[in-house]
């Protein structure tokens, strides 16, 4: 699977200008000699992250956005009509309920299909963050089938809770897509921002523990003094960072994923299989469901 991560640096709230910019990137990618199979973009990729009350003016219905994105790709490919998958973060308006969402879209020459919409479950509402004031939280963590295998999407803080990638992996995800918007902080030492180092550390640990690819798409640009730390990256199931974008500015990173890496990594370090065997006991010990009987011991 050949993937491009588009690290967008949107003009705040100017959806049409930002779509036009993305269309130009699509045209650039469509012209590649070897076709791209998937394009991944950050959280709030077309609006900017901090919208406050303007989120209600700049939210999309998922299908409306999907049609726009499909149209952009079809215009970019012209008569060549190459298929592509697009994963992108956006503010969603679902009949008057608003979410911080990510959609995964498959685009053919003359049609498109939304394969999944993930609604952010952990809405950061502390310090500089205020999502819970404006948005509703998603209720489900689902994996979904694509032509490249099963995947899951986690949006920003979703991925700071280790249980989320764990559940995604248990539910069969082989690729974890993480659209994010992370305001940079921590300039103490070491040539890197503390927040960037933390992100890389948690994402790498998930890749290694569960033997999966992690595709991280970070938003870029300053928003009212808060600088988003791009740093888009793709990490393989051995924990190696295959490609990474700079912290500042708009960029595209490009990589080809070899899915046999997943099988090799999981055979070498079978933690996910071990977890599958032990998880029923752990869940029982959490005493979430008092009526539950202890599961029978796995062979």
């Amino acid at each position: 699977m050949k993937v491009a991560v588009v690290q967008t640096k949107p003009h705040k709230g100017d959806v049409e200008a930002n779509l036009a910019t993305l269309g130009a990137v699509f045209a650039q990618l469509a012209a590649a000699e070897k076709p791209y199979d998937a394009i991944v973009a950050p959280e709030a990729a077309l609006t900017g992250y901090f919208l406050e009350g303007a989120v209600y003016e700049r939210a999309f219905e998922a299908e409306t956005l999907a049609a726009r994105l499909a149209g952009l790709w079809q215009a970019a490919t012209g008569s060549e009509r190459k298929p592509v998958d697009v994963a992108l973060g956006f503010y969603e308006n679902e009949g008057g309920t608003y979410y911080n969402s990510a959609l995964y879209l498959h685009v053919e020459s003359d049609r498109h299909e939304i394969l999944h919409v993930h609604r952010k479950m952990f809405l950061p509402t502390y310090g500089v963050f205020d999502e819970g004031r404006f948005l509703s939280r998603g209720r489900r963590l689902q994996t979904f089938e694509t032509r490249f295998g099963r995947m899951a999407m986690l949006i920003c803080e979703d991925a700071w809770h280790a249980i989320m990638p764990t559940i995604a992996a248990i539910k069969g995800a082989r690729v974890l897509i993480v659209p994010s918007a992370s305001p940079g902080r921590g300039f103490e030492d070491g040539g890197e921002l503390e927040s960037v180092v933390h992100w890389r550390s948690v994402l790498r640990s998930y890749a290694v523990e569960h033997g999966l690819f992690v595709i991280y798409a970070g938003l870029a640009g300053f928003e009212g003094g808060k600088g988003m730390t791009g740093s888009s990256a793709v990490i393989d199931p051995f924990g190696e960072t295959l490609v990474v974008a700079p912290v500042l500015g708009a960029h595209v990173i490009s990589v080809e994923l070899d899915f046999s890496d997943i099988d090799v990594a999981r055979a070498r370090l079978p933690l996910l299989g071990d977890l599958g065997a032990v998880l029923p006991d752990l869940l029982f010990d959490m005493e979430l469901m008092p009526h539950m009987n202890r599961p029978s011991v796995s062979p």
Binding site: G184, D189, F222, G227, L248, G249
Partner: protein, 285 residues
Amino acid sequence: MTELLPVIEAPRHRPPELRIDAALATDWLVAFLQDELIERRGVRNAVLGLSGGVDSAVVAFLAARALGPEHVHAIRMPYRTSSPDSLADAQAVIDALGCASHTIEISAAVDGYLQFEPDADARRRGNVMARTRMLVLFDQSSKLSALPVGTGNKTERLMGYFTWHADDSPPVNPIGDLFKTQVWQLARYLSVPVQIVDKAPSADLEANQTDEGDLGITYLEADRILTLMLSGRSDEAIAARGFAPADVALVRRRVEGTHWKRHLPTTAMLSNTAINEFYLRPVDY
């Protein structure tokens, strides 16, 4: 006889080091200025008040990197009692950068008003000077098609050691989240003339005035206490880390007494569309 095992002890609480990676911070702040001025506002020029102190010197150096020195307008605004050294130190910055510079005396403007207020004490006179400088800065920004850039640091913002709606007025400020001791680190990295970095900071509103004399505490001590305070430590916990309780109390009093200076004016709310209460839009929307 059993041999005793070596015990490795964790270090005790150390005072916050306030260290910054100056190269990393510089790249970040240069990108911030470029985004805010050029990309967002389409403004190519910056105007700033160059006092001869380290804060405005650092901002001038950052702006010169971000915009090119020819797009930075450094304005010196001496009053008749200002120290000649301040003017000379500001000139050293202008010479080092090769930026555009202007010297605009504020004595006549300040005295034009104060002649009717002969009893004004030093505090009132200082505030009139600071507000006159801001008037000049904003007018020059209009004349020069430039954006005023602020030079207030985090320590003075937290201690309320500034004139409200004067020093804090410019629409962008690259150093407002850096403590004074961090501004000094950045100054050394940026090669700000050494006499500016090494001299005792002063608002230069009165003869022989120093910041640390006014505040009653050194910047290093204040910055360490502020760091612990802002991270949620109680006064007792800070004192337990070796700080004098009187210093902790002084810093606490200054912070707690000046929250209003870090906000817009208090507006009576009567509707459910009150601006910045219900009607919430980000500054860059």
